[in-house]
């Protein structure tokens, strides 16, 4: 059996990555829709659209780092 404490740590770590992933996905969805709309009008905007769309990805990277830190530091 896993101890309650380590279970909670695992849960905290999962929440850190999970919630930030949802947040990043949501943000990207909003931007992605607009970017595709803009691209339909003007195809040269692909580069700019891609960049704007991937900007929120950093959120999930931070989430992952936090998640790893939680796991490792409470070991």
């Amino acid at each position: 059996m896993v101890e309650l404490g380590s279970g909670l740590v695992a849960l905290a770590s999962a929440l850190a990555i999970g919630i930030s992933a949802v947040a990043a996905a949501w943000a990207e969805k909003e931007i992605g829709v607009a970017a595709v709309g803009a691209m339909a009008e003007k195809e040269e905007l692909f580069g700019k659209g891609l960049i704007l769309t991937v900007i929120p990805e950093t959120i999930v990277i931070f989430g992952l780092i936090m998640s790893i830190i939680i796991l490792v530091l409470t070991k």
Partner: protein, 610 residues
């Protein structure tokens, strides 16, 4: 490298009567990037040459033929003998032939679809095999034909009113199909009774006019359908024969007409008066003198050519200059935006770092070898994607190198790694952020030189060097807080304050808003570790679960192998897409934002093909 080709501003003027030879010569030279003249008080735009409407007319016809015949564009040698006259006569002939076929095809299609509907109706009517002419309207009888749930309740309901009716019943797929003839006086009752038994009227618009029984007509209709289908196939065959015969001709005509039309419509881009014309444009400086010589020669010195170096406010078209090995990486610049004429062209830096980032993220000897082979094959097959695939091949090669560094072969640790991605997560994360610090600072240095060139030293100092002061300040503060350097935190804080002051002076108050972004940018490089970690963990999971099956022996070995193949295939696709996109993103967002403005028009000489 780092700078695009030098450009010279060129203005060509001359009398109208030599406009055509000048245009012809320029089109052949493929060297002048024409700047379109916009109509002004001083000069209107020119008018197209006489043959423009004839050419564009023929071009439209050729293109419409190409789309009706489904001609695909890929180069094929076909030589036109007589130019536009030949094209026009052949196109006319071809058009007549094709329109005959198309008309015939349309007629056959409509007959066929009609016959199909008749067949559908007849198949329904077959279940109550009565002569079809009986379904026609009567004076004294009401006719109902359609689906119903069943007939027993209907019969009881009707017999209460009258016995003067006939009911035919046949089985349709789930319900029954009925045809009922009843005295017209009782039609209201009949309708009511039918409604109760869930009656659904069917309209026999197509089969209603036929004579004889349904099964007799069905045989006839099916024969008709067969005949029409084979006729349709015949027409399609003839059209495809036309396609095969005229494909080369059409492609060659299209190319010829498009280039002729470009020449004939070129005056629309010139400034023009009643008796003279003026062409503005750009020519790479090292080809300037030979180009001018050619123009003079072609016109027997009847034009005047003026040239000068670009002025500060000019929108100079950019032709990137890079060594052959870095050339494919111009792909990323094309996708994003051309650097301004006076900016540093970042292609060479992308060439240095893109494969490295990609390699760190994928970092597996097995995946690297496999993707290298894949891209090599694709490069042979798809000539249009050569640039991108060359980039990816180099990236795959670096992936193999990093595979040895991480000691991974399809997720399996085959040699002792320098850094193990699975176990030394933190080491790799520090490494990744370290790469970020270096990369972002390279960006800032490039930015410094861009500013220096464009706005002078003071601007460059406050706008770009301030970031280095800020980094030093933050680093000093952090180190003194942790106690690694035994000095007061005040020194670090003072440096940060100086940096903020410089930033506000250099970039205004928006600089302050940007302050935290530089550190977010550096941390963003942690993705180099994160993507790699997810890829290696997936590979390990695939390996373990498949070995689990293989150990058990027997048929389960097969299951294990299937898991192994599918699992790694998915992981490779994810790894390739992730590695490519994230490496690209690190360049566009984190790197470019430090120095790149972009937005220059691409150098596109008159007469060159797309």
């Amino acid at each position: 490298m780092l700078r695009p080709y030098d450009m010279s501003n060129v203005i060509i003027t001359g009398p109208k009567n030599i406009q055509a030879p000048v245009v012809r010569e320029l089109h052949d030279m493929k060297i002048l990037h024409i700047v379109d003249h916009s109509k002004s008080e001083l000069a209107d735009i020119g008018v197209p040459m006489e043959d423009a409407s004839r050419l564009s007319d023929a071009l439209v016809k050729v293109r419409s033929l190409m789309s009706s015949l489904g001609v695909k564009r890929n180069g094929e040698g076909f030589i036109l003998k007589k130019g536009i006259a030949e094209i026009e006569s052949t196109v006319k002939k071809l058009n007549e032939q094709l329109s005959l076929y198309l008309e015939d095809s349309k007629k056959t299609e409509s007959l066929l679809s009609n016959a199909e509907s008749v067949r559908q109706e007849l198949e329904l009517l077959k279940s109550v095999d009565i002569p079809l002419e009986l379904l026609a309207p009567y004076k004294s009888l009401a006719v109902f034909a359609g689906y119903a749930r069943g007939t027993s309740s209907l019969r009881t309901a009707l017999s209460a009113v009258t016995q003067k009716y006939t009911l035919f019943e046949g089985a349709a797929s789930k319900k029954s199909f009925i045809a009922m003839f009843i005295d017209i006086k009782h039609s209201q009752h009949a309708k009511y009774a039918l409604e109760k038994s869930g009656f659904l009227q069917v309209n026999f618009a197509h089969a209603g006019n036929l004579r004889g029984t349904a099964s007799y007509n069905l045989v006839k209709t099916e024969k008709e359908i067969k005949r029409l289908s084979s006729r349709k196939a015949e027409i399609r065959e003839s059209i495809s024969r036309l396609h095969d015969t005229y494909r080369g001709f059409l492609l060659a005509s299209e190319e010829y007409l498009a280039s002729q039309l470009e020449k004939s419509e070129a005056p629309l881009r010139f400034a023009s008066t009643s008796s003279s014309f003026l062409i503005k444009g750009w020519i790479p400086s090292d080809e300037l003198s030979s180009s001018i010589e050619r123009i003079h020669k072609a016109t027997k010195n009847k034009v005047y050519v003026h040239f000068e170096p670009p002025k500060r406010q000019d929108k100079v078209p950019v032709k990137l200059k890079n060594p052959k090995f870095a050339k494919p990486f111009e792909f990323f610049i094309d996708l994003y935006s051309m650097p301004m004429y006076r900016e540093i062209d970042p292609t060479f830096f992308i060439f240095l770092t893109f494969p490295i980032f990609y390699g760190i993220m994928l970092g597996d000897v097995g995946y690297g070898l496999l993707s290298l082979a894949l891209f090599w094959i694709l490069k042979k097959k798809i000539p249009s994607g050569t640039r991108l695939l060359s980039v990816l091949m180099l990236a795959s090669f670096v992936t193999i190198l990093f595979g040895f560094f991480f000691g991974e072969f399809f997720g399996y640790e085959f040699i002792h790694p320098v850094i193990s991605r699975e176990h030394d997560m933190f080491t790799l994360m520090y490494f990744a952020v370290g790469v970020g610090v270096v990369h972002v600072n390279i960006g800032l240095i490039i930015g410094f030189f861009n500013e220096l060139r464009w706005h002078g030293f003071v601007h460059a100092l406050f706008g770009k060097l301030s970031w280095f002061v800020l980094e030093a300040g933050v680093a000093l503060s952090v180190l003194s807080i942790i106690g690694i350097i035994p000095i007061s935190i005040a020194y670090g804080a003072a440096l940060v304050a100086v940096a903020i002051f410089m930033l506000v002076k250099g970039e205004g108050f928006k600089g302050i808003i940007e302050l935290p972004s530089i550190f977010a940018n550096m941390l963003s490089y942690a993705r180099l570790m994160a993507i790699g970690l997810s890829s290696v963990v997936l590979a390990i999971i695939v390996n373990r679960s498949s070995f689990h099956f293989i150990e058990k022996g027997g048929l389960l070995i097969l299951v294990g192998i299937i898991i192994l193949i599918i699992g790694h295939a998915i992981n490779i696709v994810l790894g390739l897409v992730g590695g490519f996109l994230h490496s690209m993103r690190l360049h566009y967002v984190e790197f470019f934002s430090k120095f790149f403005a972009g937005g220059a028009p691409k150098y596109y000489p008159f007469g060159a093909k797309e």
